[in-house]
């Protein structure tokens, strides 16, 4: 059995890791979303076509 302090630390680290992964998902969503908007803008103004 782990001491209470150590167990608390592990739980905290797990939560922080989960929260960091969510933050990375936030930035990834911003990059993917704005890239798609950017591609549509490029298609409208000319340089890119599909």
């Amino acid at each position: 059995m782990l001491p209470r302090e150590e167990a608390g630390g592990i739980v905290r680290r797990c939560q922080e890791a989960r929260s960091v992964s969510r933050m990375n998902e936030d930035w990834l969503a911003v990059i993917v979303g704005l890239s798609l908007v950017g591609l549509v803008v490029l298609r409208v103004i000319g340089p890119v076509s599909w």
Partner: protein
């Protein structure tokens, strides 16, 4: 290095490479599964319109139902954990919301967002303290109280995670609350838009009601989409206004916890916690809205190019809600937290309707 050691090292590296390839293949299969279910949801929505002359179910409902069915099937085969790599509700949802930003004029966004902020401050504060009080009357664990109060009042799972970090909650408390959020959000996603139509609410009031009440953002967007395009936009902006408050809520909750509950004023949280917890996709949402408002895209181009892309990401998010739900956890929660969560949700529904009516009618 001996020959045996070299041979062992080679075997380890081969095993490691095989494991990486297996992970990659499972990830690819998981992604294809999400895409296939999203595609099927769209086909069924369109198909029912063609066959019956009207939509049998709106696309968010098809997507969640297909996700749930598939969830049951893969849980029964014991493959759920291994296949979960692409079950990324948050990523699909947030990308869909960034794209949604491009469909909303910045001036409208500010107008709705301001009212949404006022609504969020009133509803979040009242419901947080009501849930806190109620959970206290039911003698729930202090940390579970904090998690439930944050998730019912602010924005579901994200708020529960922020609150769990602030009060150092137990991992199982976080899992219980995350499951309860989804289990309560799904029926509301189905009931609230039809209730709004039945009582004749305008799209603005219906959207503000949905955004102010349903806890998880994906279900808010789904319920808004079931009502109407306009309601979906208002509901999303109102919910995003609530999401933006999460950093402040986590900071003050952590401050309250160390100073009042644990009486350790030397461990005060740093104000930078507010920025750390701030949902960054909100910035993408605002930038996308500015791009359209500055005239880079016309309303027709938004309708023909951005709106379908947004709908694809949102459908993938709805599929993932169904795929990610852990049914087993719900039955481990116990009776009391479910009653507290139910009563808090009823109070939230009534208060959010009253405030939405006052601000948006």
């Amino acid at each position: 290095m001996s020959a045996a050691q070299t041979q062992n090292g080679g075997r380890d590296s081969l095993a490691h490479r095989s494991a990486s390839i297996a992970t990659l293949l499972l990830g690819g299969f998981s992604f294809l599964l999400v895409i296939a279910l999203a595609l099927l949801a769209h086909r069924l929505t369109r198909g029912s319109k063609l066959w019956l002359g009207r939509e049998l179910l709106e696309y968010p409902l098809w997507a969640v139902s297909l996700g749930l069915l598939c969830n049951l099937a893969i849980a029964a085969t014991g493959a759920r954990e291994r296949l979960s790599a692409a079950f990324r509700t948050e990523f699909f949802l947030k990308t869909g919301l960034v794209l949604m930003g491009a469909t909303i004029n910045f001036a409208d966004l500010l107008k709705i967002g301001m009212k949404g902020m006022v609504q969020a401050v009133v509803v979040v504060t009242a419901i947080f303290f009501f849930t806190w009080f109620l959970a206290g009357r039911f003698k729930l664990d202090e940390k579970l109280r904090a998690l439930m109060a944050a998730s019912v009042s602010i924005c579901g799972v994200s708020a529960a995670i922020a609150a769990a970090g602030a009060v150092l909650a137990k991992k199982e408390h976080l899992t219980y609350v995350a499951t309860m959020v989804i289990v309560f959000a799904l029926p509301l996603m189905l009931i609230q838009p039809y209730a709004a139509k039945a009582i004749g609410l305008s799209p603005d009031v219906a959207g503000a009601w949905i955004g102010g009440n349903i806890d998880t953002t994906a279900a808010v967007v789904g319920a808004g989409a079931i009502h109407s395009e306009a309601a979906m936009q208002v509901a999303s902006v109102v919910k995003i206004s609530q999401n933006a408050l999460i950093g402040f809520a986590a900071f003050f909750l952590a401050l309250y916890w160390v100073v009042v509950v644990e009486r350790q004023p030397d461990r005060r949280p740093h104000p930078k916690e507010i920025w750390t917890r701030f949902p960054k996709f909100v910035l993408g949402f605002l930038i996308a809205s500015l791009i359209t408002t500055l005239g880079f895209l016309s309303p027709e181009q938004v309708k023909s190019a951005i709106a379908p892309l947004r709908n694809w990401f949102l459908t993938a998010a709805f599929v993932c809600i169904g795929l990610e739900l852990a049914f087993g956890e719900f039955f481990r929660v116990g009776f009391k937290p479910v009653v507290v969560y139910f009563l808090a949700t009823v109070a939230n529904t009534v208060l959010a309707l009253a405030v939405a009516w006052l601000l948006f009618a």
